[in-house]
Amino acid sequence: MKVLVTAKRVVDYNVSIRVLSDNSGVDLNNVKMSVNPFDEIAIEEAVRLKEAGKVEEVIVLSIGTSASQEQIRTCLALGADRGILIETDVEVQPLAIAKCIKAIIDKEQPSLIITGKQAIDGDNSQTGQMVAALAGLAQATFASKIELNEDTATVTREIDGGLEVITVKLPAVVTTDLRLNEPRYASLPNIMKAKKKPVEVLTPEDLGVDVTPRVKTLKVTPPAERKAGIIVETVEALVDKLKNEAKVIS
């Protein structure tokens, strides 16, 4: 069985981002870039399935500038077998990304596609769902547990107010939630092995995909700064403020 996982290059979650002074976007100059953390969880899950003998090959796919090779190498060091980069300098949006992934699904015929539930840059949470729709596959989003059976997968989903267990027919698209697993660190021997693993570079044109943005960003602004808090002397004062000032209790 083949698994396809995605790895988006995003600003590292530890970086406190800065909005450009012309409000056109976020300053990416000299900023540390990493694999989207939810994608890391996807890679980890695929690698664990492989280690458990349920999967033969893990393919990692990234769509973005040539710099995304870095993230592919990181995933190869975490245990993926080979990489595919769809290289484009266009700022790709969820629909374009989903179309690219669909094209790779057609080409590679994986039995399972695991993506992050969202990328921490745009926080759109659209790609996995769009891929499933475009490819006509079952989907199980926000997974906190995946069990592979013969030709189905049993997935526990994190939903408002609890957990939902569903069974989907393979091939299926699963998107990862935070509690699915805890990704490992890349070990040095695996970083060395990653160097020798193949990475195929394609372009959207090669796949016949039009990645032209459909949505235009008008303005990016930083969130309002939080006001400093206050310290109240007594529980009574706190209750009074919550009741009468914040009006969050009555």
Binding site: R73, T74, Y185, A186, L188, K195
Partner: protein
């Protein structure tokens, strides 16, 4: 000329950052307090295969260069692990290099895999109480007796000798009086740190409490010939081979620690409000931090230059020494400034920067002093008369 890390180098940096993220400032503060060796940290580094970064692939290492090793050392120090984290693994990284370059096949088979797997821990016995920076004046003696040597003498500052089971030892095999030059008659051994013949006494010191440095009293230590690296009498040449990488690594650590201090200072300057505004709004506070940044970046470039020359097999003495000098100056200046930026809190342990200031003194002092680097550059690069 390329100033960017390759994707593999980025992977190395990020993997080390991830390991270090599990050992936060409070962990290192606690080690500074209790003086317990950071075993958990070393175990995590060992488990990732990192001790073998610069060791040949044939013996289980990764076969990478000093460039990558310096990235690793820099990343450890910069995470806030400082010299405590860096020194805890430092010696295993490049210390065994004389074995790699000058050892026999049998020695490599015997010595390298256990070092890479973390079963063996090595320490480095060069400095002596009566020789100082004039290393060739060392007096610890090895006398040949059939198939072994008998060693007697003293070593000073030997780091990690409390936990190490192996020691790389440079000693005299021919008395100074019988040598044409002081650099002759020295030999290198890599052998068991036999505690029946070596008394290890910890030195109470200014910082890096959790990684011990010691005085060694060596009394009739028996060392088999098989543990001599290379030929008898050529130890100095073998030792010199490792000096440049050693300086590059320590420089990378100094830059990393300076950057850790600067990050804390910048954060504090933004947050601390006095006279109704953050102290960082004053140029008197922000300008020195900007200077620290520039100095650290420049030192880092020299580290990278020295490392890439070494990896390319080119002479790098001037660059490696300059890197050590510049990194120590930049690191010291940043750590000092970080304490000052914190005002009174800079003196409180819980703000961490006073610990950094105590630790940054190590790369200023060792493995070679700033004075001797200046003498070296004046002599070797500028053609001045030898002054020492």
């Amino acid at each position: 000329m390329n100033f960017e890390y390759s994707s593999q180098q980025v992977s190395i940096q990020q993997a080390i950052e991830k390991i270090c993220a599990s050992f936060d400032a409070d962990y290192w503060l606690a080690r500074d307090r209790d003086g317990v060796f950071p075993n958990e940290f070393v175990a995590a580094i060992t488990a990732g295969g990192w001790l073998g970064i610069a060791m040949p692939e044939a013996y289980g290492g990764a076969g990478l260069g000093i460039t990558e090793t310096a990235i690793m050392a820099h990343t450890i120090a910069r995470s806030g692990a400082g010299m405590t984290g860096a020194s805890a693994v430092h010696l295993n990284l490049f210390g065994p290099n004389p074995i790699v370059v000058f050892g026999t096949e049998d020695q490599k088979q015997r010595f390298l895999p256990p070092l890479i797997q973390g079963q063996d821990r090595a320490c480095f016995g060069v400095t002596e109480p009566d020789a100082g920076l004039n290393t060739t004046q060392l007096v610890t003696r090895a006398v040949r007796d059939g198939d072994h040597y008998v060693i007697n003498g003293r070593k000073l500052w030997t780091t990690t000798a409390q936990t190490a089971n192996k020691i790389l030892l440079i000693v005299r095999t021919t008395a100074l009086a019988d040598c044409k030059k002081p650099t002759e008659g020295l030999s290198l051994f890599y052998t068991d740190l036999n505690r029946e013949s070596i008394e290890v006494r910890g030195i109470e010191k200014m910082g890096r409490k959790a990684v011990d440095s010691n005085a060694l009293f060596i009394d009739n230590l028996i060392v088999p010939i098989e543990d001599r690296i290379g030929e008898e009498g050529l130890g100095w040449k073998y030792l010199l081979h490792g000096l440049n990488p050693e300086r590059i690594l320590i420089a990378a650590e100094a830059v990393g620690l300076g950057q850790a201090a600067l990050a804390r200072a910048s954060q504090y300057a933004k947050e601390r409000v006095v006279f109704n505004r953050s102290i960082g709004k004053n140029q008197g506070i922000q300008h020195p931090l900007a200077v620290n940044w520039m100095e650290l970046e420049a030192a880092q470039l020299m580290v990278q230059k020295a490392a890439s020359l070494y990896d390319a097999g080119k002479p790098c003495g001037a660059e490696a020494n300059s890197a050590k000098y510049l990194a120590a100056e930049a690191g010291l200046s940043a750590c000092q400034r970080a304490v000052l930026t914190h005002g009174g809190m800079g003196y409180a342990k819980e703000y961490h920067v006073e610990r950094y200031l105590r630790e940054i003194m190590i790369p200023v002092i060792a493995p070679i002093s700033q004075e001797l680097i200046k003498s070296f550059i004046a002599e070797q690069v500028l053609g001045q008369d030898k002054s020492y």
